[in-house]
Amino acid sequence: MSLTTESSTNFWLTRPFSERSTQIFLGVLVAALALVTILHVAVPADNPLHVGAYTVNLFGKYLSYALLAVAVDLVWGYLGILSLGHGAFFAIGGYAMGMYLMRQIGDRGTYGDPVLPDFMVFLNWDSLPWFWHGFDMAWFAFAMVLIAPGLLALVFGFLAFRSRVTGVYLSIITQALTFALMLAFFRNEMGFGGNNGLTDFREILGFDLRTDATRLGLFLVTGVALALGFILCRAIVSSKLGRVSVATRDAEARTRFLGYRVERFQLFVFVVSAMLSGLAGALYVPQVGIINPSEFSPIFSIEIVLWVALGGRATLYGAVIGAILVNYAKTIFTGVMPDAWLFALGGLFVFVTVFLPKGVAGLLLHLKRKKRDDDTPAPTDKIQEASL
């Protein structure tokens, strides 16, 4: 009963409408990228319409967050896995990029060692740890940006999905995963710069990170990565694979009884999502100029989930809207009244989950379909529970 309406709603959501939503989203994204570029380059600096380098940098940061949110939406919205540890994949991708950028510093560091990064000289290490080798080559580092988080997700997901750890349990152990990694990366002995992390970057692929042109370039690259990531996720969710994912989300046991190897689908989507998160982290690091263990903190991971919840789950574009809205609000709040930010964030968590279960995207859809009956959540029953 409820299952049929539910899946037909999803069908209606994902197939015909989503195609148009993808077009609209990509159109808006390209337009925004172009507009920012023009306002930054062509409009003179004294014009009020001019977009400064700082703002371009800020937008670039938002876009990398948006890519991360899309990755989380892929597993939460379409697979029903609430990961409270996606910050870990983001941070690992960021660390891979950070290691490359550290090696690029070369002998220009404070201690002038041609091979060892400053913090290793400071700790009196005499050679590079084995896992730092190869990061002086861009292709290797960029590959590791995808491979390292992907590998972690593969191992973790293989163990978890094989033993059918789902729902709240999975959420809690993903949180434990990122917490354990945070504690580990805080240790100096790990060889990732400990508390301070990796910073003081100079250049990427030969471009000076401190110039406006490089910043604009990074912003545009992040925008393109977001577009590609979005298209990839859309392709996955509208394929047959995506349909099985949604079926898993809504009724895992039934899907299994139909003969699908549920854990394989879960593992595949989970790994793809982790790799996208890693990519987002790698694009984030050169733009903010630092990566440290705080990106592993469970609070950050849970915040990502809020972006997705606010934007609207299982829409992909909603995740982008949510990430940009929340982070824009964060920038404003922390600047104007820093004390109020946690109140606002906390209130947002409560408000969104209680009053906006489908997020901003749901609100938009609701307004679009005003002629239809109101869209309040169906009365709770078993099927509904399973889908959430």
């Binding site: 978890a160 033993s163 709240v168 354990a180 580990a184 809020l306 906390g346 409560v350 709770t380």
Partner: protein
């Protein structure tokens, strides 16, 4: 002997002046000869440390009743000389101007600038001489406490001259502990001198000084003594290992009891109701702040305040829990992941509320006297009392909760609603009311955990955050919906953590435990003690 007795008398006397008037009548005994005293002090103000040592001995032999004060002041660097040559005692050497008193009359002379004063310097050898001299003086004190500390200080500080004095004292001493310590002190001296009697007396003693003495005796020229000492040492090492094991176990159980306290409320809301309350840690924080507030309300009575904060902390947290349940959770029934997010929002708000209203800084909660200190089992093992109280408190709370869940109407209704909500309602159970009561109970227990934690850690806005992941781990490890599981899981995780700590370090131990649980969940997704039957299908 006389000398020590009279020194003891005046030690008592000086104590009497500062602490109580009891000893006042003894004061009239010998009238001080100020000229002689001045001469004794003059002898201290010389360049050579050897000469100073002789001067100290002279003071000890002088029978002057103020000697102990002088020696203590000399040891603390408070015996000083003014520019015009007078000797003064610095009463408090802090700040720029120090209050001073006349050495001879004890009359307070007001404050003097530190630049007008000249300290009488001592070196380490003199410091040791002074310490043992003062220790011996204290051995005649009527206060058992004082005799005990002074006897303890004598361990390893005894020299040949002192031995006969101590032997006399041992005969007269009434307190067992003081006598034991004095015997030990003499034995340490004897063992270090390579005497068999000393080595035999030290057999089985766990004090570090005894071990030093024995290892010296083990290098003795006499092979019999050396062998006996080596055998004793091996036995002591064995004993120490056992004691270290017991200590680790105690710390592990203590950490475990904290985990149990933190997790048991969660086990009710999460396990029994299926509600993920991420604000659970903040409810603990509220309990801890209640303790702080009670102590502010009842200044000077930290013990009473602590006892009163047990019900108060429960109530505050329970009320906050009801507010959360009514305000947020009831709208999210059956949507556990969204409950998780919403309650996480609540936790952020509560934290920031405490930061804004009270302070972002940690608050100090006083530990009442009867909870501080430790229970000394032997020289190698002492158990801190506050941890023992918390351990006991955790067990009491656990037993109380078990009783409520197993033996009361509320417990019955909670279990009924958990197993089959619709059926329970059709039997006339008001499920909404049960929800509220259960949540209030779970939250109240969080408040109790906070009260207990206020005695062990800093009370600050982040208190809850530090425990939330650990407590979820405990609940999941133990098996959701099973209070026994929570108890076993909490205590064993605490012990595992403490066992790993010495060789892995605190952080790595924690990481290992987390990874262990992550792997454990893969093997047994429902925890140590999974629920069986229909309730497990939830």
């Amino acid at each position: 002997m006389r000398r020590f007795l009279s020194l003891g008398l005046l030690g008592l006397l000086l104590l009497g002046i500062t602490l109580n008037a009891q000893a006042q009548d003894a004061e009239t005994n010998n009238s001080p000869d100020d000229a002689a005293a001045l001469e004794l002090l003059e002898a201290l103000d010389v360049e050579s440390y050897a000469a100073k040592g002789e001067a100290i001995t002279a003071i000890l032999q002088s029978d002057d009743e103020r000697a102990r004060d002088w020696l203590q002041a000399l040891l603390d660097g408070r015996l000083q000389r003014t520019d015009d040559g007078r000797f003064v005692l610095v009463l408090e050497n802090r700040g720029r101007d120090w209050p001073v008193a006349d050495v001879l009359t004890g009359e307070e002379l007001g404050e003097m600038s530190r630049r007008e004063l000249d300290r009488i310097g001592i070196n380490n050898a003199l410091r040791n001489q002074l310490r043992s001299a003062i220790a011996v003086v204290d051995l005649y004190s009527p206060s058992v406490e004082r005799r005990r500390t002074s006897a303890e200080r004598l361990l390893g500080e005894v020299d040949g001259e002192l031995v006969p004095v101590l032997n006399d004292l041992i005969e007269q001493e009434e307190d067992d502990q003081v006598r034991y310590r004095l015997t030990q002190a003499v034995a340490i001296y004897r063992a270090e001198e390579g005497e068999m009697a000393g080595v035999e007396a030290l057999d089985g003693s766990l004090h570090p000084r005894s071990r030093v003495a024995l290892s010296r005796a083990a290098n003795s020229d006499d092979p019999v003594v050396a062998n006996a000492a080596a055998a004793s040492l091996a036995g002591i090492e064995q004993q120490l290992k056992i004691n270290r094991g017991l200590e680790t176990l105690y710390f592990g159980l203590s950490l475990g009891s904290v985990l149990v306290l933190a997790a048991i409320g969660l086990a009710i809301t999460f396990g029994v109701m299926g509600v993920i309350n991420m604000a659970h840690g903040e409810l603990m924080m509220l309990g801890a702040y209640t303790t702080w507030a009670m102590q502010q309300l009842l200044p000077g009575q930290p013990g009473l305040a602590l006892v009163l904060s047990i019900p108060a902390g429960f109530l505050v947290a329970a009320l906050a829990g009801v507010a959360i349940e009514r305000g947020v959770i009831q709208f999210l029934k059956g949507r556990p992941l969204e409950t998780l997010l919403a309650t996480f929002g609540v936790s952020l708000i509560l934290q920031q509320l405490v930061r804004t209203v009270i302070s972002p800084q940690n608050r100090t909660v006083i530990t009442p006297e009867w909870m501080s200190g430790s229970l000394v089992v032997n020289d190698a093992l002492s158990l801190t009392l506050n941890r023992m109280y918390v351990l006991g408190f955790a067990l009491v709370v656990f037993a109380g909760l078990m009783l409520i869940m197993r033996r009361t109407r509320l417990g019955l209704e909670v279990r009924a609603v958990t197993q089959n909500r619709a059926m329970a309602r059709s039997m006339g159970i008001r499920a909404t009311r049960v929800d509220i009561m259960t949540f209030a109970l779970g939250s109240g227990v969080a408040g109790l955990a906070g009260v207990a934690l206020s005695q062990l850690t800093n009370v600050g806005p982040n208190l809850g955050q530090n425990y939330i992941i650990d407590s979820f781990m405990v609940v999941v490890f133990g098996g959701v919906g099973n209070l026994w599981g929570t108890l076993v899981a909490g205590l064993s995780l605490g012990v595992i953590n403490q066992v790993l700590e010495p060789w892995a370090g605190a952080v790595l131990a924690k990481i290992i435990v987390l990874v262990f649980i992550i792997l454990f969940i893969q093997k047994r997704p429902r925890g140590l003690f999974p629920q069986k039957g229909r309730a497990a299908e939830g």
